[in-house]
Symmetry: D2
Subunit: 342 residues, 4 copies
Amino acid sequence: MAKIKVGVAGYGTIGQRLADGVALQEDMELVGVADLAPTLAIRALHEKGMPYDLYLVSGADSAPFEKLGIPVAGTFDDLLDKVDIMLDSSPGGVGAKNKEIYEKKGIKAIFQGGEKNSVADVFFHGYANYEKGIGKDYLKLTSCNTTGLIRTVDCLDRAYGIEKVAITIIRRVADPGDYHRGLTNALQMDKAPSHQAVDLMTIMPHVDATGILVHTPVTHGHIITVLATGKEKITKEMALKVFEEHPRIRVVRIDDGFQGNASLFKYARDLGNPRGDMYEIGLWEDSIVESGNDIMFAINIPQESVTIPETIDGIRAACGLQATREEGTAKTNEYLKIGRFK
Amino acid sequence: MAKIKVGVAGYGTIGQRLADGVALQEDMELVGVADLAPTLAIRALHEKGMPYDLYLVSGADSAPFEKLGIPVAGTFDDLLDKVDIMLDSSPGGVGAKNKEIYEKKGIKAIFQGGEKNSVADVFFHGYANYEKGIGKDYLKLTSCNTTGLIRTVDCLDRAYGIEKVAITIIRRVADPGDYHRGLTNALQMDKAPSHQAVDLMTIMPHVDATGILVHTPVTHGHIITVLATGKEKITKEMALKVFEEHPRIRVVRIDDGFQGNASLFKYARDLGNPRGDMYEIGLWEDSIVESGNDIMFAINIPQESVTIPETIDGIRAACGLQATREEGTAKTNEYLKIGRFK
Amino acid sequence: MAKIKVGVAGYGTIGQRLADGVALQEDMELVGVADLAPTLAIRALHEKGMPYDLYLVSGADSAPFEKLGIPVAGTFDDLLDKVDIMLDSSPGGVGAKNKEIYEKKGIKAIFQGGEKNSVADVFFHGYANYEKGIGKDYLKLTSCNTTGLIRTVDCLDRAYGIEKVAITIIRRVADPGDYHRGLTNALQMDKAPSHQAVDLMTIMPHVDATGILVHTPVTHGHIITVLATGKEKITKEMALKVFEEHPRIRVVRIDDGFQGNASLFKYARDLGNPRGDMYEIGLWEDSIVESGNDIMFAINIPQESVTIPETIDGIRAACGLQATREEGTAKTNEYLKIGRFK
Amino acid sequence: MAKIKVGVAGYGTIGQRLADGVALQEDMELVGVADLAPTLAIRALHEKGMPYDLYLVSGADSAPFEKLGIPVAGTFDDLLDKVDIMLDSSPGGVGAKNKEIYEKKGIKAIFQGGEKNSVADVFFHGYANYEKGIGKDYLKLTSCNTTGLIRTVDCLDRAYGIEKVAITIIRRVADPGDYHRGLTNALQMDKAPSHQAVDLMTIMPHVDATGILVHTPVTHGHIITVLATGKEKITKEMALKVFEEHPRIRVVRIDDGFQGNASLFKYARDLGNPRGDMYEIGLWEDSIVESGNDIMFAINIPQESVTIPETIDGIRAACGLQATREEGTAKTNEYLKIGRFK
């Protein structure tokens, strides 16, 4: 069977990682990436010898690329002519415009969380609703926090039934290297309910969800506390069992040295993971407490990389590579080497 | 009636504010404060002309005070001979040793949250259990987070009945000016359940409480999200009503400019409050959401000053100045000018 | 002699402190302050009982003020009709437009550092060029860093002669309470030379100055390291002597507890200073080192309040209240109680 | 010729990177690493399949390693019996004790900056005094800031002659993942002169150096501003020329996107460098300014990895692999792929 040909639009924080992730899939071929200007990410791509071809999106000025000696493989149109599906990680709003072009070209696309839900046929999560994405042309991925959150709520729900969740998102406000946004010595409130709770209900409509989001001045991963109400009482042992079985959840303990979000970032670097990234969410065993019949726990969301596996699941669903969530996610996990530590 | 004579042991972050607060009570007399070394706080006391007498605790070296020209009124013993009650804000553990001295001298004392509960006859909160403190010799105040948290849970409980709470504490890790502790670009987990949830159950034993605490690298006030389960459904309107009536809760809105903990700190400075302090907790109206039959909301805890009013309530209870929580807290509020903005 | 009538345009971080500072001058009368919208600062003004009259600038909508019950004394025009001089701390660029109005009304004005130098007749610093401001209609104050820096370079220059300075500005990136700007876990470079070095040369044209500015994610005061080249060798003792004599320089030591910028912020709060402000810059005695014939030292700039005294000096110069720098600055110091600690 | 056999004592932040760096040297063999407890770094080593053998230092408890299934190759003694030279990155003070063992075993060692200078025969820097290390048994490397700083001062000195430097170190206070130290919303002063200036004079005794160090709450690289006085005037062009020729200096520009220390950290991750590390220091072209006859500029020090190349240079010198600084540093650069971007 021919490999699925994949392109990436927007070579930013997410786009770079999508490209790296797709390149590891043995049943896919990364045709190239498209961007607008010689950003640091593009300069780094050049310095490491152009492992991926670079295409320029409409409106790009080729002069600075020429000046820097960065080879350009063609236009956005050229890229689209070669691919089966685009992963669109353009800045918010651009994806909606790109969709018109994708439709004309007759190619599929997966959009990231910054776009409106209406851009896609299905609001997608590899574990929660893989089957809904099968054969569809346009998927939109859940955002980073929602992706990680749903991993936990979905596996609890499949095992025990979940009726209600209330979350507190302790949000990292910027990524390492960001200078266009930041917060200094302040916690910042968002109006409740947080969009992540609302998004969870879109993916899992039988669950009642709400939550509060607070921005914090850190860069290495969001932390979410989750209070989940089961159909029956869920004990700590019951919860821990399904968390430990999930390939994309890494159960950690404070006493082992995982003191917070920065420990997980350090650990991923120590592992030698590319870019120091981690695909799994962290879940603290020593945070799990029972609240009456409810269960409460805390998770860590590595915002830069957490959506990569579920996006690749999306390619599998949209292109019909695997027919079930179990097969689709297992193949992604295999190629990304997720779950080796289990 | 003679004024109650009050001393303060430990002129640190809390001790300074206790002294300031007592000095405003027209039915109390601040006899003096006691400390060990010429800290910045003591140097500032000197620079502003010694509004309070300074006594030296046992083990203090008087030489550096003399060198700096800081007048010393006497020893710790001298102070104890003049007072009816001590507010002990010594470093954790020292209060327990001081208690032996207080007992010998036959004077009452109120300890801060750093001491063990066993140091006191009653674990005290001005609004939740004022009557239990009446006439008692030794009280221990709830810590800053617990004090503010109980304000909200107690008023909901009195109005509607509360059965269960689950909290997420987004903790400020240091006070402005702290160099002995800090956190840089990291969120840090504590093992669950947080002690604040356990403490709440000690004060309000009919409530089931648990929670998770995450340290954040900021200095201007903790934020706590609270999920409270009532005996009946509590709507946003029902919750808001009792919050707005509480003199020590300041209901604020993001759209008015209260974007986070630093906005409240700024506002207290703009008010011209001494030290830029605020006695009220902030509660965001736009954080209140219903979660099924539960109610969820977020509060801001000004950690340096929030326990001052409840400690002064404690003096009123222990010394029998007022016989009911309504009278005791009202008198404290009057002298501290709490609730003027209502 | 009639008191000088003063108004303040822009009741933000600087405007509030200008108003407070002018209100303390016994030979001046604060007529009122002008602003556009019910910001937190205005709400605080209201909550504390309107110690100053509030006027609305052109374009302001009075409806929200009415809704909040905030009394408005009149329009900007009304304010201008009552004053001799305006302190303009409007957002950058607005001052230049206001100047046209001031000229029509025939009133004097002092602009803050955000405006272009061309807005004023003289780029002013109370200690460095007071005499140049005498009788002038329009002054522009040096910015916070430049104001504090010049205090040190000017006093060294008057005592020993300074030929050259090279500075490194370790800049606080936001004020406490700021949410519109911030930096998270990053140091940010500005292109050299820093404008503060250029500004110093405008005020002190016989000195050659350059420097590098680095933004840091803190809120409590800039730190500047200064390397000054004298006409002759300046020893540590020589430098210390003139720093200790300067009323607006507070010489501090690490061993006394002044560990950094946050210690000075804490100390000002402990002093009970309004808003926790400090007018003096801090200068670390234990930072002073000799570099060959040059002298190097580090200072702390309390950015919110440092320009207040020099602005009030400017009123004295522009209105001809005192004829010499010694008399003008001494009067400002007296009313602001600067130098009491010496 | 047989490969030089190298061991690493202390598998912490520096030790991990030393091991990685040595493993890339084709004329060296990494025998193994030694540590005390199953830290996160050791757990990561295990999770990635033990690319290096692990030995346990004296006092280590093997039980937790067994429980975790981490294979142990032997004792510290066993490791020492197999190596020619140890790279000692133990916690400060432990290296001095280890030295006694190294002497008994008759093996060479290179210590990191945390040890006292007296532990070694030579205080070493690959570019500045390679020849002094040739054939010596015990070297001590300069610390991270000093290593990077000397790269710049040494190349200026060799080209033009340097007489004096004055530095301001804007120090990152912790590494990513550190929880045992940190600073929150504060800049912290060290007493001047900084040890880095003193250390520079030990390595380059003909240069007069002093400086001030300020700690800042960030984790991604120190920034140092350097003011260097040449024997003759050094222009910006002259300085830039030698910086651009230096393999371990990366000249960057703000306009290219290198806005600060976090940009360089991001760029190294984008490059796909192991652990997201960078061996080169960054030097901002747009920070270079002339100050009279002096030259001033700012550099970025990637504290976790900057000393790795110079430590490997040290192996080359101590073991006599190359006879000159040019040959020794060139070989290290070749294997670490330093300077490819030039």
